[in-house]
């Protein structure tokens, strides 16, 4: 993949796996629309892996996988953390995502699901602190 980024960091290597169908385009989409930052990490002498970091500092290692095989992966939940779920809900449709459900309250906060143009499903989650 011809993507920018050259930071090698333990967090990058320890990131959660993120399986993406049409990974290159899906990754560019995440970078453009949600401000994800791309990093590379060495897998072997001649091969680099790619990881992304969201605005909350969560790292994900990117794996390219076909649409049919995405469903076989155990860890396919793609969470995009947001500071304001309702606001993002109003804007993701404009950004080209297909909304799967309305914002609903979950144990961790407020969330909704949407599909990108390549069939990758994302959960937008506004984490809330209920310890008050």
């Amino acid at each position: 993949m011809e993507l920018p980024g050259d930071v090698i960091d333990r967090k990058v290597i320890n990131g959660r796996p993120l399986y993406l169908n049409e990974a290159k385009m899906a990754l560019n989409f995440l970078v453009e629309k949600f401000g994800f930052v791309v990093h590379r990490y060495p897998i072997s002498k001649s091969l680099d892996g790619v990881s992304v970091c969201d605005s909350y500092g969560n790292f994900y290692k990117i794996f390219s996988v076909s649409r049919e095989n995405v469903g076989n992966k155990k860890d396919v939940q793609r969470i995009i953390h947001t500071a304001d779920c309702l606001h993002d809900f109003h804007h993701v449709a404009i950004d080209g995502l297909c909304i799967l459900n309305k914002p609903h309250y979950v144990a961790e906060g407020l969330a909704f699901e949407a599909l990108d143009p390549w069939g990758n499903m994302y959960t937008f989650l506004e984490k809330r602190d209920y310890s008050d």
Binding site: L86, P103, G109, R128, Y130, D132
Partner: protein, 289 residues
């Protein structure tokens, strides 16, 4: 500074940032009134209610009230006025089956007035997040549809809270007769409002019981049934919650906060604060800074 907006569906939003304001003989639609900083005093009939950060007040449609702000620090107040039609549509949407909603999308019956217990409710958890976001978007002059979504969620969360704070708690009372339970719950709510409004004053159980028209023994026994603590413990919790808000959002010194929230002894305050929040006041301030 005052900001007021009427949305396309007649819901209204109002925010005010001031140290001094007075409004006499007001009357509106059903409204939710929150305070993010300072305090706001309401005179509703013969009773006086003060709303502080961490709480909000519900006023029914047609309730007559006076509203005052006299604050040393700048008070930041916010209100949502729910239009009659919006409220009716909301209730119809929840009380009807999907099939019914398809057959009759608009309820043909005469719009009934919805009334709720006019009391102070806790502004915590989801409703606090919702109101904070709504106020931010209101100040940014976001579009009506976005604001309306927040108003919808505010009402949804209020209904949940109403179930938990009123309907559920009222059923915990021992009284067999519904009307007795209802009246007793209203009087206990008066006691709770009196404590939340005067948490920073030196008030006794006799003051609270006189305000709620209950004997001190009856108040003590029944209050525990619904709030799982004595009136005195409830008052201490209110003082500690407000102290925590001040530690997080103001520059007052510890001794100033101790006096402002109604404690007399700093060491007692520190001990109680640590017991409740597992932080000393100083370490809590550093933690949230």
């Amino acid at each position: 500074m005052k900001t007021f907006k009427v949305l396309y569906n007649q819901n209204k939003l109002f925010s005010e940032i001031t140290t001094e304001a007075s409004y006499i003989d007001q009357k509106n639609e059903l409204s939710l009134r929150a305070v993010f900083n300072g305090s706001e005093k309401y005179k509703i009939g013969k009773r006086t209610v003060v709303v502080f950060p961490g709480n909000f007040l519900i006023l029914n449609e047609g309730t007559s009230y006076d509203r005052d702000i006299y604050s040393d620090s700048v008070a930041n107040t916010f209100a949502i006025f729910f239009s009659k039609k919006f409220l009716h549509d909301f209730q119809y949407g929840f009380s009807s089956s999907d099939r019914n909603l398809l057959d009759e999308p608009i309820d043909s019956e005469v719009i009934q007035r919805s009334t709720f217990l006019e009391t102070i409710y806790p502004c915590k958890g989801d409703i606090k997040y919702n109101l904070t976001h709504l106020l931010d978007h209101f100040n940014e002059n976001s579009d009506d549809l976005l604001l309306d979504d927040y108003i919808y969620h505010a009402l949804l969360l209020f209904y949940r809270l109403y179930y938990k704070e009123v309907l559920n708690k009222r059923n915990r009372l021992d009284a067999l007769n519904f009307s007795t339970r209802d009246e007793l719950f209203k009087r206990l709510s008066l006691a709770k409002d009196f404590m939340l409004s005067n948490y920073n004053q030196d008030i006794s159980l006799e003051d609270i019981s006189a305000h709620a028209c209950l004997s001190p023994t009856h108040l003590f026994r029944t209050f525990k049934q619904i709030y799982n603590c004595s009136p005195h413990q409830y008052l201490i919790q209110a003082r500690l919650d407000n102290a925590r808000h001040m530690l997080k959002n103001t520059d007052y010194t510890l001794n100033e906060i101790v006096n402002l929230v109604g404690f007399t002894c700093p060491s007692t305050f520190i001990k109680l604060f640590k017991n409740r929040f597992h932080f000393t006041p100083g370490s809590y301030r550093n933690h949230v800074a």
